[in-house]
């Protein structure tokens, strides 16, 4: 398969870019932040997303979606990255949808997927427990009780956790932290007794939550996939999420680079455009090259995910690791080359730096994925 977007994918990009740049430029995020908006994103805009088919992009056609793939989801995520639009797209349309369509029973799919596609159901994936992403170290217990299970433990860094109408929770039904066997995914109604959700205001003004589970009852029909065998399902879903976040970081990197390049061509010091200075020209060129290489690696990973999620692990590790280091470089160079202006809140560039930091942590940072790749290659 050619490592370029198809004509249809380019058209999708154009329509996503048109909508997002029009309805949700960076000023949209700024306004939500300044007004301390309780939702943290625009529900009206999510409705528009659903009407345009973006909410159900990954939902199979049988359940009211478009049945598209990870490359298309990445195309939308990249546009989201360009304006930093806060949106349920990642948590609901990518993560929860992938978990349901890959692991769900017929009943679970027909209950939830049509509602995701029409924009009426928001969902969140609750995995992380500590400061760093280590999915196999999930310690939350799910103990058999009557016809179901009781969940006990705390989750953190749950994207969109405070607005979700459905939680997908990883818990341990057997084994010890560090083991792949013994993990199980559960569909949980966040209104169930024993759940306490705290919205965590994050550095990037996007949504996340800490969620405590105290003896929370879940019926057996809330199990997503097989009991004790959720590790592989989770890994596949996380890899799809990692590909999506990597795409968002490509968008962040490109936008920051574009703005910075523009600044180099208009800002004058010592009677010259600062873009005439070789010190800055070479750094700009290096950053451009890093971004182009990362873009190729990310597209490769998305295509690999669309081919076979089980075999995409190495490509995804490469993509997420590269996207993290590239975005980190892009935002730092962006602020530095904007000089004092880059440090002001009034200027948008700092928003990109904050979001890049969060994306780096989401589902494993560059170090995590370098370690993963070394394990896959047995050294």
């Amino acid at each position: 398969m050619a490592l370029v977007l198809t004509e249809e994918q380019s058209m999708l990009r154009d329509s996503a870019r048109g909508l997002i740049s029009d309805k949700a430029p960076v000023s949209h995020l700024r306004q939500l932040r300044d007004s301390k908006d309780a939702t943290g994103f625009s529900r009206d805009l999510w409705k528009t997303f659903a009407e345009m088919g973006f909410a159900g992009l990954l939902v199979p056609e049988d359940f009211g979606g478009s049945g598209l793939g990870c490359v298309e989801a990445g195309v939308v995520m990249e546009e989201i990255g360009r304006t930093l639009m806060p949106s349920p797209f990642l948590a609901t349309a990518v993560l929860a949808t992938s978990a349901l369509s890959r692991g769900g029973s017929a009943a679970q799919k027909s209950e939830h997927l049509p509602k995701i596609a029409d924009g009426s159901l928001l969902a969140a994936l609750a995995i992380d427990e500590g400061a760093k992403h280590r999915p196999l170290h999930t310690a939350m217990r799910a103990v058999r009780s009557g016809n179901g299970f009781r969940l006990q433990g705390d989750k953190a860094f749950v994207v969109d956790g405070h607005t979700a109408g459905l939680l997908i929770v990883a818990a341990r039904t057997a084994g010890a932290p560090g083991e792949c066997d013994g993990l199980t995914l559960f569909l949980v109604d966040p209104k169930t007794r024993g759940i306490e959700t705290e919205r965590t205001a994050m550095v990037d003004s996007h949504n996340a939550a800490r969620i405590k589970f105290d003896n929370v009852e879940v019926n057996a029909d809330g199990v997503l996939g097989e009991v004790d065998q959720g590790g592989a399902l989770l890994e596949g879903v996380l890899n799809i999420g990692r590909g999506a976040v990597a795409s968002e970081m490509v968008g962040v990197s490109e936008e920051v680079f574009g703005r910075t390049l523009g600044y180099l061509k208009e800002r004058k010091q010592f009677g010259k455009l600062i873009g005439e200075f070789q010190a800055l020209q070479h750094r700009a060129a290096q950053l451009y090259i890093e971004i182009e290489i990362t873009r190729a690696a990310v597209l490769k990973a998305l295509q690999a995910l669309d081919g076979n999620v089980e075999n995409a692990g190495a490509a995804v590790a490469v993509a997420k690791a590269r996207a993290g280091s590239t975005a980190t470089l892009a935002v730092q160079e962006g602020v530095q080359m904007h000089g004092g202006m880059g440090m002001t809140d009034q200027f948008d560039i700092g928003f990109f730096m904050k979001r890049a930091r969060v994306c780096q942590e989401l589902f494993g940072d560059t170090n995590f994925h370098a370690d993963q790749l070394a394990r896959m290659k047995n050294y």
Binding site: A2, L3, V4, L261, L264, K265, K272, L273, G275, E276, Q278, Q281, H282, A284, A285, Q286, Y288, I289, E292, I293, T294, R295, A296, A297, L299, K300, A314, A315, A317, V318, A319, A321, R322, T366, N367, H369, A370, D371, L373, A374, R375, K377, N378, Y379
Partner: protein, 394 residues
Amino acid sequence: MSDLENFRRETRAWLEANCPPEMRRPMTSEEDTFWGGRNTKFSSQPQRVWFERMRDKGWTVPHWPKEYGGGGLDPEQTKIVRQEMAAIGARQPLTSFGISMLGPALLKYGTDAQKEEHLPKIAAGLIRWCQGYSEPNAGSDLASLQTRAESDGDDFIINGQKIWTSYANFADWIFCLVRTDSNAKKHDGISFILFDMASKGVSTKPILLISGRSPFCETFFDSVRVPKANVIGAVNRGWDVAKYLLQHERAMISGMGERGVGRPLGQVAADSVGTDEQGRLEVPMLRGQIATFEIDEAALACAAERAVDLAKAGQAHPAFSSAMKYYGTELNKRRYELLMSAGGADALEWESERSKEGARPRAWLRTKANSIEGGTSEVMLGIVAKRILDLPGA
């Protein structure tokens, strides 16, 4: 689509039947590279068999037209041949500056007669070429070259000196930049010309490098007589040809950082530094550096693949090969720093059978030229800044 799948199946079967097992092992010494040429020798029978079978199929240059000894394949088919060769670790049957550098320039700028004369001999490995570009006072500033070609009837008389001419002492012919108009602006008085290294007045002198090897020469021209018919493109328009060729040269050099050299780095390091009970390298910092390197290596391979696909789609920037050249050569230098670090004291041996006469440290030192030859890293970044990013000034 199914046509391509068929082609892949046929290619796989053909390679399986025709590539000798010895030619699927990683190369370990310079003798493993077959360069062709008048005085060439095969280092082994499998090397000969592999070369001849590929030549007869037109697959030393699968993408060239059949009439010039190529395979006549389209870009998709060519990609499949490369992928299937890579899948079994097949070596290049023929390594040649004629293929990687001169050929593309001839295909674009050569007359029919020039193409017919030279391309089939390149494809068949009969003539080995070298490149006369750099001069003692024209390195990064290549266009200030001073080698003169003066008109004498139907011929030019060439006088001057080239430097860093790769394997000039083994080459049969040279493609050379010469000044045909010393009054014009520096880019406008250059011509691109071909001649036989056996011509009267040509001499070469190898340059000993820090690796202890001499892959480069000084090349001297003392009143060398060359027919004007050997100019490629128009007289005084050689810079266009030179730049076009450089794009291909840079793409080739960037590939050095992309292709796996022998065993994976992590495995090489495991042999020398050992692993813990979980199979992880005993030196965690080295393990991290190798993993980070392999991420960048894999990403560069994606970018190389994408560059080809963008070119096919007509979306490639002509200066992008400079970006790839910069990154690929810097990456190759990193690879060899890590190989040296992984090898520790064992990698320092310079003269022993055990070390294959210091193969690793010599290769390590050779890579330091990668970011200089074919345009330095700094020149590449300048080209990207100006031609792709459109940054102002100098």
